[in-house]
């Protein structure tokens, strides 16, 4: 109702922003309706003692205090970090090596790509049962290989010193996903760069370190982020089915312990506290990675 026309209508949204919001709306609605509530609920639970069927009562910081004094927390954090620190680089390294090996123009290369990719599509439970048999100290394939190589047999999942490495080793079986992403990354490297390098006389490792690696760093970075977040949370099905956290708590991962607190002991408040602490730990790890990324991740299209 202004007496004179405004000089320019100022929209609340920048051009295209409306469509963008429209596109994320389904996810946003899903999040708000199904996840935000439980998320906040679990945050609130930290202050309560609640066993699901008995009334919840306020205990303040008691759950967090118990978290600090719980002797099993140290064990589970150690086990989980052990997994993250060993398994993430190992998996990324093997995935990269496999991707490099399969990034060639050979007849039938797709067949091999499928072969290496397939195990990552085997359901966790089937995988777990399969590897239980492979690691069987009496009849397993793993010990058969050791004995063929004239090495002493291992007790594998029955030996607290070997159980964690055994599970990590088994994780290599599932590198398919990472391998495919690496292959995609490798194929995104413009051939012209390699041609130019060839003109300059760079071959073999020089080519790899001078061109392939720098251009793959964003992909590697992505894999580290996803891998670390994933590994903190993953492994539940495996330790639950294969070892139940044993022997002697050597494979008691944080998430298995959280599960026990929530669904065996029905300490919902305590479990919620554990979940949020893990969220913070993962958050810190991710943040540190992003900070460190500036030192080693090379983005081709960024110029300064």
């Amino acid at each position: 109702m202004s007496t004179h026309a405004p000089p320019r209508r100022r929209s609340l949204l920048r051009p295209g922003e409306g469509e963008a919001y429209l596109l994320v709306l389904p996810w946003l609605l899903g999040f708000l309706i199904f996840q935000a509530g439980p998320l906040l609920f679990s945050l609130g639970l930290i202050g309560f003692k609640w066993e699901m069927v008995t009334p919840a009562h306020w205990v303040g910081l008691e759950n967090l205090r118990q978290l600090v004094t719980d002797p099993l927390m140290g064990t589970t954090l150690y086990n989980t970090l052990y997994f993250v620190v060993l398994s993430v680089p190992l998996n990324i390294g093997v995935a990269l090596a496999t991707a490099l090996a399969l990034n060639v123009n050979l007849r039938g290369v797709n067949f091999y790509r499928v072969v290496y990719y397939l195990p990552s599509q085997v359901p966790a439970v089937a995988n777990a049962l399969l590897w239980l048999w492979i690691y069987n100290p009496q009849f397993g394939l793993a010990n058969a290989i050791l004995s063929a190589a004239h090495l002493p047999p291992s007790q594998w999942l029955f030996d607290p010193a070997v159980a964690k490495p055994a599970l990590i080793l088994m994780g290599i079986w599932g590198i398919g996903q990472g391998m495919v992403i690496f292959i995609a990354g490798l194929q995104g490297i413009p051939p012209s760069l390699y041609e130019a390098a060839e003109v300059d006389g760079a071959v073999g490792w020089n080519r790899f370190w001078g061109i392939t690696m720098p251009l793959l760093t964003p992909v590697i970075f992505f894999q580290f982020i996803i891998g670390i977040i994933g590994t903190f949370q993953a492994g539940f099905a495996y330790v639950y089915i294969m070892t139940n956290g044993g022997p002697e708590d050597s494979t008691l991962l944080y998430i298995l312990y959280l599960y026990r607190q929530a669904f065996e002991n029905f300490h919902m408040g305590y479990a919620a506290a554990m979940a949020w602490v893990l969220f913070l730990i993962v958050g810190v790890f991710t943040l540190v990675q992003f900070r460190m990324a500036k030192q080693w991740v090379y983005y081709e299209n960024v110029h300064d």
């Binding site: 069927v53 919840a56 439970v125 009496q138 979940a275």
Partner: protein, 484 residues
């Protein structure tokens, strides 16, 4: 009917696989914990079941038929096998014949049944009647989700405490109130392969409990005589699950206890406990007549079924698979008498009524029927346990079944049942003791070391249990092994 009754500590069981499958992808970030348990934990304020039927305090209702139309009650059973489903369907059918106004639906809850029960109850969508392993009853009963049955029992001519095996009955009490009625009792006894005994020229173990010749020393001697061979070819004289609860009869027989009656003092590091554990350890590592975890990777059950193990302590729930999967000739005998008495353990199973059920009286009718003479007769022929009702257990119908099994050994075993220490911290106690005792089973620690560590950790753990709850949490007859 707990799926964990006979589990070897490290075996994969169906429960584990199913749960692993269903939450294999569990995400941990905050709220996902809650979404993982479905609608039951929707972000409404946690509360008690809304319905608080007054039925339990009005016993007169118990003897009245349901008013109005036909009522339907849902009975949640904990992981029945196919044969047992048929048994319980039969119970339900006969129940409806006797009570035309009530229909009972048997619903088998597979996987982690007790967890699912609690989730249902928390969501105020429980079954009317639940089946529990009796040893679980005090821990869950303390949460106040079961109907107190005392008034119903006072008014009932069928369900009377003295009709049931006393130790089994005693486990159905929480704070002196009855919250469950037992439907079977499953004491462990000694299964043995008769052919192995014949071949070794050793007399079969006695079937009568308390036989003066059947002592620990004699048992050890027999176990050694039945063992032979080396490496993968070795035959073993004895096996029992390495789950720590199966060591309890040996502890009790040696005069040991996990803690004193009023849980003021943990007594794990006493010589009685340590020596009993060491006895089992010696069978495994000194005599090598008891295969270790590494030697039973194919499953100890399978080894017994294929004639590689001479004697095997287990409950009668071992029988269905033994009959189905093995071709060996076997029988069942008494456990050997210890220096300080003769004990066995007994998980047993019972029925409870959910406090929030809208069909309290009808549910009671079902309990009365299933644990009464007619229901017990059907259950008796189920072949996995002893009916909880003494008269049924002692009837010829049960004792002289065409299956030819010496059921009397299990019936007699009921006189020698010890009581496991069951508290609301049971799951933690279970994990803690098992983790520590596994060090002994794996020959990396002596029984004494294990007991010393456990003395401290269990004292802390039980301290928490009493700090959070009053003593009512504890099974009424508590820690003592009853004397007969």
């Amino acid at each position: 009917m707990g799926s964990s009754q006979g589990r070897p500590a490290r075996a994969i069981n169906r429960r584990r696989v199913l749960v692993g499958a269903s939450i294999g992808g569990i995400s941990i970030l905050g709220g996902s914990l809650i979404t993982a348990c479905g609608s039951a934990a929707a972000p409404t304020a946690p509360s008690k079941p809304a319905t608080q039927s007054g039925a339990a305090t009005q016993p007169t209702a118990a003897s009245q038929p349901a008013s109005g139309g036909k009522a339907s009650i849902r009975v949640g059973m904990a992981g029945l096998d196919v044969a047992q489903i048929a048994v319980w369907q039969n119970v339900a059918t006969e129940f409806s014949k006797a009570n035309p106004n009530i229909e009972a639906k048997i619903e088998n809850v597979t996987g982690d049944a007790y967890q699912k029960y609690l989730v249902e109850i928390a969501g105020n969508a429980g079954h009317d009647v639940y089946d529990y392993e009796t040893k679980q009853v005090p821990a869950y009963g303390a949460k106040g989700v079961f109907t107190v049955l005392d008034d119903y029992i006072h008014a009932s001519s069928i369900v009377q405490p003295n009709k049931y095996f006393p130790v089994t009955w005693s486990k159905c009490l929480v704070s002196g109130k009855v919250v469950a009625i037992p439907w079977d009792t499953t004491p462990a006894a000694l299964f043995y392969n008769t052919e192995i005994f014949d071949k070794a020229g050793v007399a079969a173990p006695p079937h009568d409990w308390g036989n003066a010749d059947w002592t620990w020393d004699k048992f050890r001697e027999v176990a050694n005589k039945l063992s032979n061979g080396e490496g993968a070819q070795r035959n073993y004289g004895y096996f029992q699950s390495t789950w720590w609860v199966y060591s309890l009869p040996w502890v009790w027989m040696n005069g040991g206890k996990i803690a004193n009656r009023d849980e003021t003092k943990v007594t794990i590091d006493t010589p009685e406990v340590v020596d009993a554990w060491q006895f089992l350890h010696d069978l495994m590592w000194k005599d090598k007549v008891f295969p270790s975890a590494q030697e039973t990777t194919a499953g100890a059950g399978t080894m017994f079924f294929t004639g590689k193990i001479g004697m095997y302590t287990n409950g009668p729930y071992f029988i269905p698979s033994l009959r189905k999967d093995s071709k060996i000739k076997w029988n069942v005998a008494a456990l050997p008498k210890g220096p300080k008495g003769l004990y066995t353990r007994d998980p047993s199973d019972s029925l409870v009524i959910w406090k929030g059920s809208k069909n309290q009286d009808q549910s009671w009718k079902f309990l009365e029927f299933a644990t009464g003479p007619k229901g017990q007769e059907i259950i008796a022929l189920g072949g996995r346990g002893v009916p909880a009702r003494i008269e049924t257990a002692q009837s010829d119908k049960f004792l002289k079944q065409p299956d030819g099994i010496d059921w009397k050994v299990f019936v007699d075993a009921t006189a020698h049942e010890g009581i496991q220490p069951v508290t609301d911290v049971w799951p933690q106690m279970d994990h803690t003791i098992q983790t520590e005792l596994d060090k002994m089973w794996n020959n990396r620690a002596t029984a004494k070391d294990v007991a010393k560590t456990l003395q401290t950790s269990i004292t802390t753990l039980l301290g928490k249990a009493t700090a959070r709850r009053d003593r009512a949490t504890w099974s009424e007859t508590g820690w003592e092994s009853p004397k007969y």
